[in-house]
Symmetry: C2
């Protein structure tokens, strides 16, 4: 049983990462207004959030610029138009997906960029490319993290092998990513134990990125905090693909470090997130996401179900269990 | 760390209690259609649910019958009109609130009633009356449980004293009730430990009734399962007062006893719960409930905020923190 003191106290090493523009952008093709992005930046500053992820460094050869908002590509100029020289304690992050980012060309040296942290997202079978991207970003002067996606259907032996490779790489933070929203807190505890073992050995930090398919994104995140995980992803109003993520407002309410403040998060949600929902942008817990989470499936069929405005949940359940 | 085998296996002692009509009735004054109630009974039968709570045994001297649906009063005749002789494995429960139930008159002998279980709900300071109600119900032949409400702002010494009194009473099951949705899983673990200590000593079972103010109702319920709590309250689509309860669909998906089946729950939600929401009945996680949960307050101000259709969340936060 964890100590009471841990709930009343805090670890100064904990970092909160706002992933609203990046994971949230997946549900509105990154069409955020300038006002939204500027207000989000200010909310993060006032709330004491440590990192703000602006979006993806997506390859323009693969993605048509006319079909996405600027956070899909995260040009330095765009970010600078929001944050200026960013002389603040809030650091800027972008995500680079293995296989979807022309990192050698599109990621410039850190001294020319407002970005501080490159977050490399990879599946287990693309770890060597992820390491190449991490080394490239490190050489350019960035902090780096690596998100190992979809671990809930991976064997522990593969995860262990990946952690050993990443341990030897120059990456700073290794993330547990429950892409399918399939893991229960007991499994998160076990995963955190494994990740922390390698992190301790190689001098890295561990992070968590949770999904809310089974209404466990916040629960899994605070389970991980109790297990020694320091980097915590969250999004305002849980905005994110499918069932969404750990809610920033819940996380800021939970954390006891005096630098965090939930009130600016409440103000931002009142002003912007409610409007976004009313404009027709859809995310969050619903039965179809519960089902894919429960079955440890990728949420894509559930997202298609949502986009088609279907509500024949029982039929959908039958469709996906025959694919099991 | 809990054992993996516990996640893959099950304890046959676990009982699932459907509280949809009772806790859900608090948001629509118990106006459920006969079709809804009959379909819910059938869904519970098919899903393998162990107990179905029909509502309250409310005192007609205190509550005006014309302002509530029949589940507020749970007359034996009403329940019988739904379940007949109920020759099934699904048992029937009703809740009797201390101070709001004329139990000596309104609860008849079990052999004249379709009800199996009387659930006595009490605050810590009314335990002696709760014990009198338990003894009355036992004498009449019922199974009994006792819900100790609002424990999140009680001192452990008071809870311990109450557990000792209840331990010596004829009650069968003692419930942990997180009325304010304020407890984190680590606190549930500690509470479960305390309740189970007394339950073991006196030969009782322990139950949990969680609220979803911080999106932790399901997480807290499965934490409790891992800690030896056997009786689990849930409601379809989390329907319940304020932020609602542990979702039945999540709980049935999680439990591994082959007698449980999530599919009838999905069918029931598709057919009935969506319609109920569309008809204007409001419940579930929202910022105002997160705030009262976080501050360990009664949800009443948040319910008033909801009923007034307010959306000035930041103003509400300021109102409730000055009451702290």
């Amino acid at each position: 049983m964890k100590e009471v003191s841990k709930l009343l106290d805090y670890r100064p090493e904990i970092k909160v990462v706002d992933a609203t523009l990046r994971d949230g952008g997946l549900v509105n093709n990154f069409y955020f207004s300038d006002e939204f992005v500027k207000n989000l930046y200010n909310a993060n500053l006032r709330a004491g959030v440590d990192y703000m992820e602006f979006g993806y460094k997506a390859d323009r050869e693969m993605f048509d610029e006319s079909k996405f908002g600027p956070c899909k590509f995260c040009d330095d100029e765009y970010i600078r138009s929001v944050v200026g020289e960013n002389n603040t304690d809030l650091k800027i992050a972008v995500m680079a997906d293995v296989g979807r980012c022309n990192y050698k060309n599109d990621i410039h040296n850190r001294d020319e960029s407002p970005v501080d942290l490159i977050r490399v997202a990879t599946y287990l079978h693309t770890i060597p490319t992820a390491v190449d991207m991490i080394e490239d970003a490190k050489k350019k002067g960035y902090e780096t993290s690596c998100n190992i996606m979809a671990i809930s259907n991976a064997q522990e032996s593969s995860i262990t092998a990946a952690l050993d490779i990443l341990g030897k790489s120059p990456v700073d933070v290794i993330y547990i990513v429950d892409s399918f929203g399939a893991l229960y807190p007991e499994q998160i505890a076990r995963m955190a134990d494994l990740f922390c073992e390698f992190a301790d050995k190689y001098g890295k930090r561990v992070g968590i990125h949770a999904h809310n398919n089974q209404q466990l994104a916040f629960a899994n995140t605070i389970e991980a905090v109790g297990d020694g995980v320091d980097w915590l992803d969250a999004t305002y109003s849980s905005m994110g693909r499918g069932a969404g993520n750990c809610a920033m407002e819940l996380l800021l309410g939970f954390l006891k470090n005096p630098k965090y403040n939930v009130y600016p998060a409440i103000q931002f949600i009142e002003k912007h997130m409610t409007k976004l929902r009313e404009s027709g942008v859809v995310w969050g817990y619903d039965l179809q996401y519960m089902m894919t989470g429960l079955l440890n499936h990728h949420p894509n069929p559930a997202i298609q179900f949502t986009n088609a405005k279907r509500n024949d949940y029982a039929e959908f359940y039958k469709e996906i269990i025959v694919q099991d």
